[in-house]
């Protein structure tokens, strides 16, 4: 079930009404039933077996660990057993073809000519998301951060909560349980704010993301015909498209939850206002980054193996260099996992490694950059300098995203090379360029959307809550804004016959 469909709207409204009508004590059961229905309507029913296996393994392991606090060995085995089941399912369903493809390629390098056929297994919706979420819960129980949840339905709900399952955000048990299982009384403000947020998300996706996809798809699908300014525009357009698509999706997810009185963590915090790639990744897909830091990078850095590495590098190159090397290598592990999480393809790894490289180079060059800026007397507090930093970050991010969007690593490299040839910026005024964007009207709508997004982001960056500000205005003004947003979606949204709106990008993970 697509959350942009009419059927989801009916499903959501029905669930909301039932949620507030039933006794508060069983509200979480309503959410669980709704989540089960959503899951079954979103993919082949047999994929439910993977989800059930995941939740069951996590539930019983956590229960065992809670009961056997004195048996460290037993707890460790329970943890490893459940981790193995969950990560093995994820690995097999997502990476079998990748492993097959590359293994055969390596073997064929030695003169063999092995043929193979790919497997066509269908993974359950959101497997990449819910696996991380339930594994996080399991590890939290092992570390003593959370207590095991004795109620199996509550554990299941945590793993498959319907707004969140297909695209995140990835929640932590100790934060989410406080809001997910709470007895929520109907709040007019929650429902109002939730609906506003949903509308905002739909607008981002249907008006902006879909409009940009025309140009992006046009260039990426016929990449050999384009070079220079076309590829750069496609890269930047894709960054914007992905932001509008993914953050729009998150707005809908968080808005739906807000209507139930449930608070999910934010996944975006004005990433295009970032002044470095490092800052960017603290503002983009926040929950994934934080999860992987807490459950992958920090455990790696604290591991015995890493401590030994640290000691060795310290003797070789001194303390400061040792800290940098171990940290950067720890980050490398993190970014490799991020790449693999996105899917079994070298292009995702290429994007991750690019991001890692930019962060590392940024940090290494920091002292030298500081000296240069001081020598050039550049005022780093000035608006122009901050603007430059934001633009530089956007460009660096977009280069990495080129690999994410390209059909393969080879295509990505080809496009990157082409982007430096035949630049010809004057082509932005050509008919072909305009027609790739779908004409002048389309471009006008895109620019207006970007302007509105920037305005809203600027207000939010100053600490204002747009929704609270709007709520404090007069009735007529508020209604004009609400109707304006609604009709902007109805009129300028890219939907309808002859137009297949693309699924949310991150729903495929």
């Amino acid at each position: 079930m697509n959350i942009l469909s009419f059927s989801f709207l009916l499903f959501f409204v029905a669930t909301l009404v039932v949620y507030y009508l039933v006794p508060k004590k069983i509200q979480y059961i309503v959410l669980f039933v709704a989540s089960a229905v959503f899951f079954l309507l979103s993919g082949p029913a047999y994929t439910a077996i993977y989800l059930l296996l995941s939740i069951a393994s996590v539930y019983y392991s956590a229960k065992y660990m809670q009961k056997n606090t004195d048996n460290e060995r037993g707890r460790k085995h329970a943890l490893l057993f459940a981790l193995l089941i969950n990560l093995a399912m994820l690995a097999v369903l997502k990476y079998t073809n990748f492993v097959l493809r590359n293994s055969v390629s390596v073997i064929n390098l030695f003169g063999a000519s092995i043929a193979y056929s790919t497997v066509e297994w269908i993974a359950p919706i959101g497997i990449s998301f819910y696996t991380l979420q339930v594994v996080g819960y399991l590890v939290d129980v092992y570390w003593g951060i959370s207590e095991a949840q004795p109620n199996a339905i509550k554990v299941a709900l945590f793993g498959m909560y319907f707004p969140q399952i297909s695209s995140g955000p990835i929640g932590r048990y100790h934060q989410l349980s406080a809001t997910l299982y709470r007895e929520n009384h109907f709040s007019y403000q929650d429902v109002c704010f939730g609906l506003q947020r949903i509308a905002w998300g739909v607008a981002k996706k249907m008006i902006l993301a879909e409009r940009l996809s025309g140009f992006v798809n046009g260039v990426f699908s016929s990449y050999s015909q384009y070079a220079g300014v076309y590829i750069w525009t496609a890269m930047l357009a894709f960054s914007l498209q992905l932001y509008a698509d993914f953050s729009g999706n998150m707005d809908i997810v968080l808005g739906v939850s807000e209507c139930f009185g449930i608070r999910l963590p934010e996944n975006f915090r004005r990433p295009f206002f970032s002044r470095s790639i490092q800052e960017f990744w603290q503002r983009w897909h926040i929950t994934m980054g934080e999860w992987l830091k807490d459950y992958v990078m920090f455990p790696v850095l604290r591991s015995n193996c890493w401590k030994k590495l640290g000691k060795w590098t310290k003797t070789k190159w001194g303390r400061k260099a040792s800290q940098q090397i171990t940290t950067y290598l720890g980050m490398l592990v993190l970014w490799i996992v991020i790449g693999l999480w996105h899917g079994g393809s070298w292009k995702f790894l290429a994007q991750s490694l690019w991001s890692w490289l930019m962060i590392v180079l940024g940090q290494i060059s920091q002292p030298l950059s500081q000296k240069v800026l001081t020598a050039l007397k550049i005022d780093q507090r000035s608006f122009s300098w901050k603007l430059f930093q934001c633009f530089r970050t956007l460009v660096l991010f977009s280069v990495g995203l080129l690999f994410f969007r390209a059909d393969s690593l080879t295509v990505g490299l080809h496009m990157l090379k082409s982007s430096f040839t035949n630049f010809a910026p004057v082509k932005v005024f050509s008919e072909e360029f305009l027609s790739l964007f779908g004409g002048g009207e389309n471009m006008t709508v895109i620019f207006i959307c970007i302007l509105v997004l920037l305005l809203v982001a600027a207000f939010q960056d100053k600490g204002y809550s747009i929704r609270k500000w709007v709520a404090s205005q007069g009735l007529v003004f508020r209604w004009v804004l609400y109707y304006g947003l609604f009709f902007a979606i109805v009129i300028y949204g890219m939907y309808g016959s002859g137009y297949n709106s693309s699924d949310f990008v991150y729903r495929g993970f």
């Binding site: 009419f6 609604f486 009709f487």
Partner: protein
């Protein structure tokens, strides 16, 4: 405590009123925006022109397809017979829509006579053929239960329902409507049609003289329209409507079609209704395939004048309709007729030229 509860209750009521008002205003705006974006087609002009009429001001409604709205000229009917009539007709008419057209027309008028064109009942229905006729009808109707029922009962399963129930989903890409004066004019979905639903076509085609008036054999009503005809006759019986069934004259594709029409005529007459077959009356009407048509299915203004005179005489002889020419409430019709005649003369000049070219 009680006072606090009372204050909370008042706040809750105020909130509910506000929410309901928000939705009502929203629905009204949504309806208006939908009408704004709908294309302004000849079908829509006819339907919304009907809505703009004063209630119960029309004595005869002609209902059907383009096989009525280029055939019967209401203003000529007014001038020569005093009839207050209107063409409630859409393009690409199909039999599945007829009942809903009847329901729609009876909402605002109580005509003494309904003239129903049955040519759509010889058109075999094909599931791929539903969009245009259905949209010509329901995308002209105001939002109503009748419109909802029409879509629900007619739309094939493989069509996307939301784009029919909420037609803005289909037409929202027509953003030029936002700056188009005509679109804004039609956004109320009630716009006067001075020519009472008639279309003046500046086209002509000289056709071969193919006339199946000598075919008297009774064939079979097409299976796909038979039930629609039965339902229509039951409806007319149930509502006790005064209906004249008409098959307007055209160049039939084959003798089989004539046999089917003969079967329809037989069916209609067996239920006690009068039927006028334009093919059988072709010579009496005085139509000429060389000068009076603009394609095999439709006549031009010369043909319309002949047909209107013929049918008007028939109606005058068989039905007692009031002569509205002396009625003060219909004075505007004189002005409409004068305006229409100016356009008729302009059209005839063009058609004369086309006729000359076709002779050469």
């Amino acid at each position: 405590m009680a006072e606090r509860q009372s204050v909370d209750n008042i706040k809750t009521w105020k909130l509910m009123v506000r929410v309901i008002a928000f939705f009502i205003v929203g629905i009204m705006l949504f309806t208006w925006v939908s009408y704004l974006f709908r294309p302004v087609s000849p079908s829509r002009k006819n339907i919304v022109g009907y809505y703009a009429l004063e209630e119960n001001s029309i004595d005869t409604v002609f209902v059907g397809g383009s096989s009525i709205y280029v055939f019967w000229a209401p203003l000529m009917g007014w001038n020569e017979f005093g009839f207050a009539s209107y063409n409630f007709a859409i393009d690409s008419m199909r039999s599945f829509l007829m009942l809903y057209l009847f329901d729609e027309l009876l909402k605002t008028q109580t005509p003494e006579l309904i003239v129903c064109d049955v040519r759509s009942f010889v058109k075999v229905l094909d599931e791929d053929d539903y969009e245009a006729p259905l949209r010509n009808g329901v995308d002209s109707f105001s939002y109503s239960l009748n419109r909802f029922r029409a879509i629900k009962n007619i739309l094939p399963n493989n069509y996307s329902p939301i784009e029919y129930y909420l037609d803005i989903a289909k037409y929202h890409t027509n953003t030029s409507a936002l700056t188009d004066e005509t679109q804004w004019l039609y956004s109320s979905n009630r716009v006067e049609s001075y020519n009472k639903g008639f279309s003046l076509m500046q086209k002509h085609e000289a056709l071969e003289n193919i006339n199946y008036s000598d075919i008297n054999e009774i064939g079979e009503i097409p299976a796909s329209t038979k039930d629609n005809l039965e339902a229509l006759l039951d409806y007319c019986d149930g509502k006790k409507l005064n209906v004249l069934f008409v098959s307007t004259p055209y160049q039939m594709p084959s003798a089989e079609t004539k046999k089917e029409m003969n079967a329809i005529k037989q069916k209609v007459e067996s239920r006690g209704y009068l039927f006028v077959d334009g093919i059988d009356s072709f010579d009496e009407i005085g139509l000429d395939f060389k000068t009076d048509f603009y394609d095999t299915y439709h006549i031009n203004i010369y043909g319309a004048e002949k047909f209107t005179r013929f049918l008007g005489k028939y109606i005058a002889e068989h039905f007692s309709l009031p002569d509205r020419r002396a009625d003060d409430a219909y004075q505007q019709w004189y002005l409409d007729y004068a305006r229409w005649m100016i356009n008729v003369e302009k059209t005839k000049i063009i058609i004369d030229q086309l006729i000359q070219q076709s002779i050469v």
